[in-house]
């Protein structure tokens, strides 16, 4: 297969396949290796994760979740990157990658139990090749590099994608991990979802340079792409994965996008950004843009759009019901079960004392 990054126009400072108006800046069909169903599936997944994201915010507003961090506006990055990988490739998320988790087949209701305060991690990473959420910013980046080093040592062929925001690129762990990846030629893709805001701090306060350029300092390539263009994200990720699988080492993708929602449900973005800025990014919406192109290409019609909308509605509805029905786990199990593989007698004794304190009144 041709290097799919060729569809990304070299001369653009921000590379896209689809322009904001939905017209095509290159011919992605041949190079991306996607079938007509494959193209529509990217749309279906973006619609589905956006609807679920909105539902999660609703659930938070209704007191069903303690916190929610929306990824509204970043659907192209979530779907494009995940779908460009093999299912056996590993993804190391930060804490906003609910959409990626859904694309990997993790039950969204199960995932939301984390934000309902029932568990710190609701899925088996080994089953979905999807690491637990990493809440301290950038700390997951060296994990991904270590895993990729292991994959290379074993020759097992898995590629690793680690994703993070623009804020993470200021952290020491990010730089240390980038450096290790370069030195050990680890098969890892660094996907920066540069959404411009790290809570309230804008990009110019994170870095005076270009994030994509950082890769050169660590001895491997980096590109900046239009992160609201699902085909550009898909193309770049696919190209980086092929490259890594060939043994050519790491790659940095800076996907320029925008966090349309608040940092989390506890945040008030009106304190630090303008409505005009939001408006400008609305016109670059990843779903609307892609839908226009699919319709123009005859890959999707109104009936298709309606059907996909209904599917997303039904997924959100099921997620809602299942979450509200999720049983609260037994406190002893939830708190003590997973701390040690073989708990010591002292640990067991503390657990028993705790559990019996729950049973006895007063």
């Amino acid at each position: 297969m041709a290097d799919s990054a060729q569809v990304v126009r070299e001369q653009d400072p921000v590379r896209s396949v689809l322009r904001a108006d939905g017209s095509l800046a290159g011919d992605p069909r041949r190079a991306l290796g996607l079938t007509p169903e494959g193209f529509v599936d990217l749309y279906r997944k973006m619609v589905s994760i956006r609807r679920a994201d909105q539902e999660a915010l609703n659930l938070q507003r209704q007191g069903e979740l303690g916190l929610w961090g929306q990824f509204l506006g970043q659907e192209a990055a979530h779907v494009g990157a995940t779908m460009a990988l093999e299912p056996t490739d590993w993804i190391f998320p930060s804490y906003r990658e609910f959409g990626m988790a859904m694309c990997r087949g993790i039950d969204p209701a199960t995932m939301l139990t984390v934000f309902r305060g029932l568990t710190h991690g609701a899925w088996d990473p080994r089953k979905f090749h999807f690491a637990p959420l990493a809440i301290p910013v950038a700390t997951q980046v060296p994990h991904a590099v270590g895993f990729a080093m292991g994959s290379r040592l074993e020759g097992s062929g898995e590629v690793v994608l680690v994703t993070f925001g623009d804020g993470a690129t200021s952290a020491g762990d990010w730089h240390e991990a980038m450096n290790f990846a370069g030195v050990f030629k680890a098969p890892v893709i660094f996907l920066c979802q540069n959404n411009y805001w790290a809570i309230s701090v804008p990009l110019p306060r994170q870095t005076a340079g270009r994030i994509a350029d950082r890769a050169a300092g660590y001895g491997f390539p980096g590109i900046r792409i239009d992160g609201n263009d699902v085909l550009a994200v898909f193309a770049a990720t696919r190209a980086a994965a092929e490259r890594a699988r060939r043994g050519d080492g790491p790659y940095l993708i800076e996907a320029q996008t925008y966090r349309m929602g608040a940092h989390t449900s506890s945040d008030d973005p009106t304190r630090y950004r303008t409505a005009a800025e939001l408006e400008a990014w609305s016109s670059k919406d990843p779903i609307a843009r892609y839908e226009r192109w699919l319709r123009a290409e005859g890959l999707l019609d109104q009936a298709g759009v309606d059907g996909i909308g209904k599917e997303a509605e039904s997924t959100a509805e099921k997620m809602r019901t299942r979450l509200r029905e999720a049983p609260a786990p037994d406190p002893g199990k939830a708190m003590f079960d997973r701390v040690y593989s073989r708990p010591s007698p002292g640990f067991q004794q503390e657990r028993e004392e705790f559990e019996s304190s729950l049973e006895s009144p007063g």
Partner: protein
């Protein structure tokens, strides 16, 4: 039987772990051709190759961070942190991830972090610290430290075979302490203290480098007709409270010894447990003989800072004279 140093015992233990399990990896700063600044990994890269024993860039947080990823991939990483005072850049990875990953995901992380620790080597700043309490305080980690070559071998085998993360503190001032043993020596389970010397009047509870100091004190005390029981904890977390309490129930007096500053040190945990669980038998308050509450001093003054046999004996005398 032959005379084996602790350095040799640890080196042999690492070699045997690499032989036993092809998933065992050793890495860190200068552990390759140099064999480590203390030569603990001497010859290992030559024998097992650069894929299994390798130098890393100089970045402690990433050394531990990649260990998490390698463990997820199915390896048994044995990273080395070159000196105690250089572990702090990795503190976040150890506390936020190494300790908590299993609790978060159900996936065990069989990582053994080796750290030479403690003072008494005449070093510059950051090379003589005893940071064990930070880690013992963190649930999800096991924290162990040997005091003898035989225990160093056996405890390291147990640490590397353990499915959970272990911080393995090596008393660097005792690297050249010798013991007549055969290697491989017996396995040493994590979480079991040992009686290093039996006695009847005061229990002296120590770990790592101060076990030898406590034994010196016990030999001196014997000259004066005082019988000290020396307990080597070996494992701080999990803690073998039973062995400690059994000894104190026999002697009715306890002195806890470590190099780390006394304030908030691990001795406070021991003292609290004894005071709570053996209050009825105590004939003197539990004493702590430890480092001063200052940053580790310049080398010229370290002998004044570190617990020595005399300070232990003063505490023993006070315990015997109490009341």
């Amino acid at each position: 039987m032959s005379s084996v140093t602790m350095a040799k015992a640890i080196n042999t233990s690492l070699r045997d772990a690499l032989r036993k399990n092809p998933k065992t990896l050793i890495f860190g700063e200068d552990v390759g051709p140099l064999g480590g600044v203390f030569r603990i990994t001497d010859g290992l890269q030559k024998e097992f190759g650069e894929d299994r024993v390798f130098d890393t860039p100089l970045a402690e947080s990433a050394i531990i961070g990649i260990s998490v990823g390698l463990a997820l991939k199915g390896f048994r990483p044995v990273p080395e942190i070159q000196f105690d005072g250089f572990i702090y850049p990795a503190f976040d990875q150890i506390v936020s991830h190494v300790a908590k990953y299993r609790n978060r995901s159900g996936v065990p992380l069989p990582i053994t972090i080796r750290v030479p620790f403690g003072g008494n080597i005449g070093a510059v700043e950051h090379h003589s610290e005893s940071p064990e309490a930070y880690f013992a305080h963190t649930a999800g980690l096991k924290v162990v430290t040997p005091a003898t070559p035989g225990d160093a071998y056996g405890l390291l085998q147990s640490a590397i075979e353990d499915d959970d993360p272990v911080v393995f503190f090596e008393p660097k001032s005792r690297y050249y302490l010798k013991e007549e043993i055969d290697l491989p020596s017996a396995a040493v389970p994590i979480g079991k203290a040992k009686i290093s010397r039996e006695g009847s009047q005061v229990s002296v509870i120590a770990y790592g480098p101060t076990v030898e100091t406590a034994l010196q004190a016990a030999r001196s005390a014997e000259q004066e007709g005082i019988s000290l029981e020396v307990i080597d904890l070996r494992s701080l977390s999990p803690l073998d409270t039973e062995t400690v309490l059994a000894s104190v129930r026999k002697t009715h007096r306890a002195v806890v010894v470590h190099e780390a500053p006394v304030f908030g040190g691990f001795g406070a945990e021991i003292a609290a447990r004894i005071s709570h669980d053996a209050f009825d038998v105590l004939e003197a308050p539990v004493a702590r003989v430890a480092g001063l509450n200052i940053p580790y001093p310049p080398a010229r003054f370290e002998k004044l800072y570190l617990p020595d046999a005399d300070r232990i004996l003063q505490a023993v005398d006070a315990a015997l004279a109490y009341g």
